[in-house]
Amino acid sequence: MRRDALENRIYDVAVIGAGVIGSAIARELCRYDLSVCIIEKNVDVCEGTSKANSAIVHGGFDAKPGTMKAKMNVIGNRMMDKVCEELDVPFKRNGAMVISFEGEDSLSELVARAKANGVEVEIVDPKDYEENISSDAKCALLCKSSGIVCPFELTLGYAENAVENGADIYLNTPVLGIKKDENFTIHTSKGNIQARCIVNAAGVYADAIHDMYLSHSYTITPRKGEYLLYDRDLKDLVSHTIFQLPGKMGKGVLVTPTIHGNLLAGPSADDLLEKDDLETTDEGLAYVLNTASKSLKDMPSMVITSFAGLRAHGDTGDFVLDMPACGFFEAACIESPGLTSAPAIGEYMAGMVAGYLGADLDPSFNPVRKKRVLDGDRIICRCESVTEGEILAAIHSTIGARTLDGVKRRVRAGSGRCQGGFCSIKVMEILARELDVPFEDIRKNTLDSVIVFGKTK
């Protein structure tokens, strides 16, 4: 949209942040007769916390009864089947176990929480369910309703479905300031965006967005989690998500199959000062491996990659789902179980905003995400068997991939055992051709993540 056109338009709601929470809220807002936009500072959706986490749909036995975390977790878990079907997101209820090395008493607190939260669990012998579980595990809490999901597709599915239902999305558009006269004026790198309401869903930056308009009321500390990702070869090592007893810093290190058939171990938990520190550390990775090794008889050490993600850990102790000032809403401090809670938070926040604006339901809302299928059976990514047609669909879908990582997250090209060694150049060629830009303009993820520096001599 041109700058003057942008500045003349007044949206009913501007959602800041295109992670899973912002995208879910935007999509749920589209159920109402409201004009909606999503503003995202990165070049793609799902570039923050939503892209690097455990990808678990938690059962809800761990969250403290009475908190928003517990409420949203339990509702979100129940909504997940329907949402994933509508948005075409891979999801499976593989079940989770919390193993104890001490005995049944150590699990009593979790059992009590599960009961209070209305979540079905049972105490079992984990060896009856998993061959490779450590023989030190004396007993386990089993929750069959826990699951694994693709966090990229859940975020993208929500964002695309929002756009398909009329929302606008402004990518690569950092918010620089917020003020309010009759309406909100959101000052961005691309010009001003006006809206009657704002929903702050800016992840680890939500406190900074809050402070642009209101006085400081909570602080978000990025809590780094490091992960190890293993080859598909190891997919049969465990079928459940295996937790150890939770600690003060979170749910601890888990070992789980991913929805794509890899094995994942992590996360560590380290509080940081910087909101963009995604470095993995020797200590963090060793901690994950050592801790995970206690859960299984034989924890492999050969990984295909490691990564770090940041949880938006707030000093509030609970999710902040609120309207702290007229027309200014926020979904902040969304750490675990944020991904699980996203469907519930989306519905809850959209309902709050629609109530404030007195909006009616929009009968034309279509909850089913469009699925694009394009021809091309040439295999581009050999490790994950990704075809050219799938990559074309990723580029030409409602919110198309523009970067190598964008393609990778949408269709897994480059996420296999060779980590893009063979296919990254081919994917760059396809991106350049389809977007009609020079090859050297293709980026890995951010605007400055240059891949090649012009032609050879």
């Binding site: 990775l285 980590q419 150049i425 993820n445 605007l447 032609k455």
Partner: protein, 307 residues
């Protein structure tokens, strides 16, 4: 559809094996290649040093491949490009990416190898752009014609890394150093002399990269010595792994760790009628040795088919 012999891969191993089987009297042969041209990785190896043993003269990679490509075409051996084998069963049914199923009398595996990526080394730090395996950088430069970096640190002293040190220097990049964790380079002596020494590129032995820095693009590395070296590019030349995921599907037995195929003297794997040759069997130093082995595999497959 039936085929006497299906050769999987059209690199130096696949081409030579197919020609050898043809010369032994097998006519119903199909070579399946996943890339869009014959010759495999040789196409991007534009440096000389190939063919000294096979032809008694020094050729570049594309020249070496061209001789076998010409021969395959001259003999009229059938091949399919842009086609990947998706599955092989124990009774030698080969499923292609087009959906076509072939009942093969014999199969020669010739899929080559892949490079060990950064993830497999589990080097800590950030995940910026500017980290390439040496072979990917080689393809970017020699096939696509683009510069992957300006200021380079090469991790590992495998032959492709050494070749790329010279190649990038000749194109105007500053190759700051090659670091090797072992006390001795695994590369050929001639490559160390011609690719590093001749260009004054230091080789640091008993040294590795312990951390990668840079949020968007690489900005530097920390070495095991504690030293910080600024650079915008890291090339990895830290080992090759036989690409045997497909072989596993039909039950071929592999050596743990190396991923090498366990096979008989005549290059037949544990699966009856499935042979192997080249880097998919085990990683070879020289293409001439790959050719030699492939000729033997072709012959063995022909004997098997005639029996």
């Amino acid at each position: 559809m039936k085929k006497d012999l299906v050769v999987i891969g059209a690199g130096p191993a696949g081409l030579a094996a197919a020609i050898s089987a043809y010369e032994e009297g097998i006519r119903d042969i199909l070579i399946v290649e996943r890339d869009n041209l014959l010759g495999g990785i040789l196409n991007q190896c534009i440096h000389p040093g190939f063919g000294l043993f096979t032809f008694g003269e020094e050729l570049t990679g594309p020249e070496y491949a061209a001789r076998y490509i010409a021969k395959v075409k001259e003999l009229g051996i059938e091949y399919m490009l842009d086609t990947m084998v998706m599955d092989i069963t124990r009774d030698k049914v080969v499923t292609l990416s087009s959906g076509l199923k072939l009942e093969a009398g014999a199969i020669i595996l010739a899929m080559g190898c892949r490079e060990r990526p950064r993830g497999a080394l589990n080097i800590s730090g950030t995940r910026p752009s500017g980290i390439f395996t040496a072979g990917t950088a080689q393809r970017l430069m020699n096939i696509e014609g683009y510069m992957p970096g300006k200021e380079v640190v090469i991790l590992g002293s495998g032959d492709i890394g050494l070749i790329m040190a010279r190649r990038m220097t000749l194109e105007g990049a500053k190759v700051k150093m090659v670091v090797e964790i072992k006390e001795k380079s695994g590369g050929l002596a001639r490559n160390i002399a011609q690719c590093l020494d001749d260009f004054n590129i230091p080789l640091l032995l008993n040294t590795t990269v312990t951390k990668i820095h840079g949020k968007d693009r690489v900005t530097g590395v920390t070495l095991s010595t504690g030293e910080y070296v600024s650079c915008d590019t890291i090339l990895l030349s830290v080992g090759l792994i036989p690409e045997n995921e497909l072989s596993k599907k039909c039950g071929v037995r592999l050596e743990e760790g190396s991923n090498n195929i366990i096979c008989s003297e005549d290059l037949m794997t544990d699966v009856d009628g499935v042979f192997c040759s080249g880097n998919v069997h085990h990683v070879h130093d020289l293409v001439d040795n790959v050719t030699k082995e492939a000729i033997k595999a072709g012959k063995s497959a022909a004997i098997y088919l005639r029996r």
